[in-house]
């Protein structure tokens, strides 16, 4: 399966030039750019591991691309990497863009467990097949 979290998951994977253009857009808006990676793609896994601190006050997308390359060296092919942009404007103070830049070589997807309960209720649990394995062996 293809994990469709993030702003651009229905498009072909972005090239570095395309990623750089999105970073430039974020910097033009004064947003801080952040890189994160994860080996548990569950949609409620909010806190991916941060690759360093969010990059505030950047002027040049090249710095983000440099960090992305460094992150890929360690996690490329074995985890998801996402790039997000944070807007500190009053009343927002949240992300304004978030998209996946890198995916593991294989995406085994999720199983859905159903527990039948009274009144035809069903309790649902989605489990990532990859996350059933210990950290470090997932992808």
């Amino acid at each position: 399966m293809r994990l469709t979290q993030g702003t651009f998951s229905f498009l072909p994977d972005l090239t570095d030039a395309q990623i750089g253009a999105q970073v430039a857009y974020c910097l033009r808006n004064g947003w801080a750019v952040n890189l994160e990676f994860a080996d548990d793609p569950h949609p409620r896994n909010t806190y991916w591991e941060m690759w360093g601190q969010p990059m505030f006050d950047l002027k040049d997308p090249a710095a983000v691309m440099y960090e992305l390359a460094a992150c890929r060296k360690v996690h490329g092919g074995r985890a998801y990497i996402r790039l997000s942009a944070f807007d500190a404007t009053a009343g927002w103070e949240s992300l304004r863009l978030s998209f996946i830049t890198d995916r593991p070589a294989e995406e085994p997807g999720f199983g859905l467990e159903r527990q039948e309960a009274g009144g035809r209720n069903i309790r649902y649990t989605a489990r990532s097949y990859a996350a059933n394995k210990p950290v470090g062996e997932r992808y």
Binding site: S9, Q18, A21, R96
Partner: protein
């Protein structure tokens, strides 16, 4: 407009009838206080009725006045409780229509009650005989009054965080046909649409609990579809479960069941009434539930310019009452919506402060005092081929709902959903890259369609579909260039 008194009056409180203008409801020198509630009405007086007297009558009948003098006014600080018409302007380009600006003291209103606000301002006066027609165009709600409301339980920012979706409009679809599907078949539409790439599906306004599909059945099948689609995509999905019902007890019962099933969002119709909306909003706040409002019925009083209540007023009331989503027009779709007027509605929903913008129908500055933002929803006759126009007119903080434009796709519902999602992401990508996406829109879509057959088919099927009709509700003011 009232008959002249039979004999000369010696004082303001002599028994009998007086002009409203002379009773204290009209004062062109009155300077509205920052704490006043302000309203602007479009009045069309009956032939022979003086515009200023008609305006004063509106102020009187929407505050303390009755048709004759009553001595019991003297038991009150009546000067304070009288609304005051402080300005009357002819409507540009219209015959015998006037904008009447009226100020109401803050103490006329109960805190946190749209029912009280609306009963005061539109409760009685719209049937007043000396007026041919009357329309409430806009209101300025002082920040002291705004702060008596809790507002949207979730708001745009927290909704995005909860759904983990940023930087693009959300995508939805209303399940069609809106009547007749069984719960099991209904859930099939939900599953296909969500799996194909939509974020939300939606019950329609009149899907409640009819004999062909009882509400529990719908909720159960819909949540199976939502959970299955989440597992297939790894993405948060939702379906607006319409909890509108004949009484508040049933509304709560349905909302509780939606919560128990793990739904992220429920839905209500505007016709359940303002008290019911405020009640369910409070429930949503307590239960971390996103609240979608379908503006069912609004066009009966918002559409015609001469009489009724403008939708911008309804949007303001609903931001106070506390809804997270509100249908606010598409501009390009099948339902009424002039671009400039619609822009005004969207600004009311989404901005922290609205400056006066007559060209968008906003007559006053409005400070929202930190009240959360409402996500406007564009629904009705839109399709993937309009993506550049939709993004241009509506921006990225909205829900684009393609009902027919998803379910009517020749390759099926999931393909329709994929077409919409690909079109949207391609347009956002291009916009962020700094391209002139409005002018290049068709080329951007065509390029995206080369890698996406469902999009290519959607563009082909709906290529010529537009709804170019003249809007009935458009602004009365157009910006003009002047040399200072």
């Amino acid at each position: 407009m009232n008959a002249e008194p039979q004999k000369p009056r010696s004082g303001r409180y002599d028994a009998g009838v007086m002009k409203y203008k002379d009773m204290g409801y009209f004062d062109l020198d009155y300077l509205p206080k920052d704490t006043d509630v302000l309203a602007v009405f479009r009045i069309t007086p009956q032939d022979g009725v003086d515009a200023e007297e008609a305006a004063a009558a509106v102020a009187g009948e929407s505050s303390t006045a009755t048709w004759t003098v009553v001595w019991t006014d003297r038991l009150t600080a009546s000067e304070k409780y009288r609304a005051k018409c402080y300005r009357v302007d002819p409507v540009p380009g219209a015959d015998n229509q006037y904008f009447a600006y009226i100020a109401y003291d803050l103490d006329l209103f109960e805190e946190n009650s749209i029912v009280n606000l609306s009963a005061s301002v539109i409760g009685n006066v719209f049937g007043f005989k000396p007026l041919k027609a009357l329309r409430l165009e806009d209101m300025r709600l002082p920040i002291a009054y705004v702060k008596t409301y809790a507002g949207p339980p979730t708001g745009i920012v927290v909704e995005r965080e909860r759904l983990d979706k940023f930087g693009r409009p959300l995508l939805g679809a209303t399940v069609k046909p809106k009547l007749g599907l069984s719960g099991r078949n209904y859930g099939r539409v939900v599953y296909e649409a969500l799996k194909g790439g939509l974020d939300f599906t939606k019950d329609d306004e009149n899907i409640n609990s009819q004999s062909f599909m009882h509400w529990r059945d719908r909720f159960l099948y819909c949540m199976e579809a939502v959970n299955r689609a989440q597992a297939m995509t790894g993405e948060i999905k939702g379906t607006y479960l319409n909890v509108s019902a004949g009484d508040m007890e049933q509304i709560y019962e349905r909302a509780e069941f939606a919560k128990q099933l793990g739904s992220t969002i429920i839905m209500i119709d505007l016709v359940i009434g303002y008290s019911a909306i405020q009640s369910i909003s409070r429930w949503c706040r307590r239960n971390d539930m996103i609240l979608h409002l379908h503006r069912a019925g609004h066009s009966t009083y918002t559409r015609q310019k001469s009489h009724g209540v403008s939708f911008r007023v309804i949007a303001k009331w609903m931001r106070l009452a506390g809804v997270d989503h509100i249908h606010a027009g598409t501009v390009v779709g099948k339902l009424e919506g002039d671009p400039a007027t619609t822009r005004g509605y969207y600004d009311i929903c989404r901005e922290a402060f609205n400056p006066q913008a007559l060209q968008h129908g906003l007559f006053f500055d409005q400070d929202w005092g930190g009240l959360r933002r409402v996500m406007p929803v564009a629904s009705g006759g839109i399709h993937a081929g309009q993506m550049h126009q939709l993004l241009h007119h509506l921006g990225e903080d909205c829900v684009l709902q393609f009902g027919g434009g998803t379910i009517g796709h020749p390759m099926g519902i999931a393909a329709g959903a994929t077409a919409n999602r690909v079109a949207l992401e391609a347009m956002i990508l291009a916009r962020n890259e700094g391209r002139d996406y409005l002018a290049e829109g068709p080329a951007i879509l065509a390029a995206a369609a080369r890698g996406c057959t469902p999009l290519a088919q959607a563009l082909e099927v709906w290529k010529d579909v537009t709804f170019n009709y003249t809007s009935t509700d458009s602004p009365d003011f157009v910006p003009s260039v002047s040399v200072a």
